[in-house]
Symmetry: C2
Subunit: 130 residues, 2 copies
DNA sequence: GACGGTTATGTCCGAGAAAACATAACGACT
DNA sequence: AGTCGTTATGTTTTCTCGGACATAACCGTC
């Protein structure tokens, strides 16, 4: 059985930083707005915004710069710090998959071949986009 | 700010394997029983047992061998497969901390020095032992 | 044969998290 | 001045996971 997904959450004191925040940063960078980012990943604006607030409060300088009003209602973009934190997190995951391939495969090799018997599951059920 | 904790969860198809199961395996190995393991980590027996069941069902051969009745009511121990899966997971975490130290530090370096201002917290609050 | 500690399994309930819903403020543009 | 999409923030409802209980079966030991 192959590794499907890996979720890494780092705790710096009380601040957790994991896939949720990383994906959100990425979506904000790509879309230019918090609400569009939330929509694109099936997350309520409220939640997306509160994650942004949490990050901005925990870091010395904000990771996301936002503005309201204006041309298209406002928007948000990643700061340099935001870009670099996101990049560092992505690098960690890549290195993990890369350097730990033997151990990851060793676990996978011991799994039951077809996965555990789960009675008729509606196929191709998209990943719940946390 | 220093990294306090790292939680890695691996998904093989529908089976998640993370710190909860790894710690449980370790506690079973050390205590020789599912219930003692659960107690030692503040987890109900029911939950500990269901995690064991989930693992045993997902792997080709069980990770935990259990027996009921007998001298002291029964007990549980790790199989060879259990030992090796646990070992592989631990190795992954060690390698992660080791090889990704620069990126982990890079994120930590951008955090607000004293952590976010949290009004008077009862100090030395032990980690919630998930 | 009763005892005791454990495995095994089901049901019910509550806390905490996330979603849903509701509103206000903002400001470039028309 | 009005519009529009977004940021910002609060309140209420829903849902899910885990904890709390309850019970049975098992089997060396005394």
């Amino acid at each position: 059985m192959e590794l499907t997904r890996a979720r890494l959450r780092l705790y710096y004191g009380t601040l957790p930083f994991g896939p949720g925040k990383a994906d959100l940063l990425e979506a904000i960078r790509d879309s230019g707005s918090i609400s569009a980012a939330g929509r694109s990943m099936g997350m309520s604006y409220k939640r997306a915004w509160s994650l942004v607030e949490e990050m901005n409060a925990a870091f010395a300088e904000p990771l996301v710069a936002s503005a309201r009003g204006g041309a298209h209602g406002g928007g948000a973009r990643l700061t340099r710090a935001g870009e670099e934190v996101l990049s560092a997190y992505r690098t960690i995951l890549v290195k993990l998959i890369d350097h730990c391939a033997p151990e990851i495969a060793a676990i996978g090799a011991r799994l039951r071949p077809g996965g555990v018997a789960e009675p008729d599951r509606p196929p191709a059920d998209a990943d719940t986009p946390q």
